[in-house]
């Protein structure tokens, strides 16, 4: 089984490994940092720790949408890096059957595919699984 936290971006379902998720909190306005890239627009303090806010939509080629009451911040710790992923909404922690994991379609934009491990299914809906190693590498490299 693949344990993931399901969240939504631009109407699509994404999964982040639940082992890396520290907590999920309501969206709150973060502090913008001058000169920061669109994928790392600012910082916030969570339990006394200053975290970079990660905006996944520009990385995944998705359109930005206004923040709604459903928006959440997914606090993730991976490779000794703590960060807050902006999610339009968070659905649930689920265990996806590993056998439903499929490779990414060849037609998928490589810039987007880079950050995904594969596609699984949850209640007949495709779930794109984030590759946190690649996400951090991409953020560091200036994706």
């Amino acid at each position: 089984m693949i344990d993931v936290l399901l969240f939504q971006l631009a109407g699509e379902l994404y999964g982040v490994p639940s082992a890396s998720v520290r907590e999920v909190v309501r969206y709150r306005i973060y502090t913008p940092v001058p000169g920061s890239p669109a994928s790392l627009p600012g910082i916030l303090s969570q339990r006394g720790v200053i975290l970079p806010v990660v905006e996944l939509r520009p990385l995944l080629g998705l359109a930005l949408a206004p923040v709604t009451r459903a928006a959440r911040l997914v606090i993730v710790a991976h490779q000794e890096i703590d960060m807050a992923l902006l999610a339009e909404s968070v659905l649930d922690l689920v265990a996806l059957p590993a056998e439903t994991l499929q490779p990414l379609p060849a037609a998928l934009d490589p810039a987007r595919a880079r950050f995904l491990r594969g596609i699984a299914r949850h209640e007949q809906q495709p779930v794109m699984l984030l590759d946190l190693d690649e996400l951090i590498a991409g953020l560091r490299a200036g994706a």
């Binding site: 000169g35 920061s36 200053i50 890096i81 953020l139």
Partner: protein, 140 residues
């Protein structure tokens, strides 16, 4: 004044922390054009709005401005803000997260501090002033 004093300054949209030691003075000015026309202490002075320099949406509507005067080699740069909120002695600030620090397109933000339940970005005002001067030179 001790060298570790921070000023909390306010633009139309944001508050920033700056090192008082980076400034030669803070002036209240009624008309920024005067600075440009007359200079300061017999040196040319470039007046630049701090807010829009850091964020194009951060536009002030105030006429009276506080000028943070940064001395550079042959001139001054006056970074204009709405208010100077307060002075802080020995305020504890922390570096920005490494992931963000490595990706900054300009070396302006150097840390952050928590004040009144708000996270405030600490600026290297000399770096900001140098950028403003380079930008001005590029435009002229």
């Amino acid at each position: 004044m001790p060298s570790d004093v921070l000023l909390i300054v306010r633009t139309a949209l944001c508050r920033y922390a700056v090192h008082y030691a980076d400034l030669s003075e803070v002036k209240l000015i009624a008309d920024p054009a005067e600075l440009r026309a007359n200079g300061l202490h017999n040196r040319p002075c470039l007046g630049v709005e701090l807010g829009p320099l850091l964020d194009p949406f951060d536009q002030s509507t105030l006429i009276r401005r506080r000028a943070l005067i940064v001395p550079l080699r042959r001139r001054y740069v006056a970074l204009l803000v709405d208010y100077v909120d307060t002075f802080l002695e020995r305020a504890a600030s922390v570096p920005l997260p490494a992931l963000l620090r490595e990706r900054l397109q300009q070396p302006w933000a150097i840390g952050a501090l928590a004040l009144d339940d708000e996270l405030i970005v600490k600026l290297d005002l000399r770096a900001v002033a140098r950028s403003a001067m380079l930008r001005s030179a590029g435009e002229s």
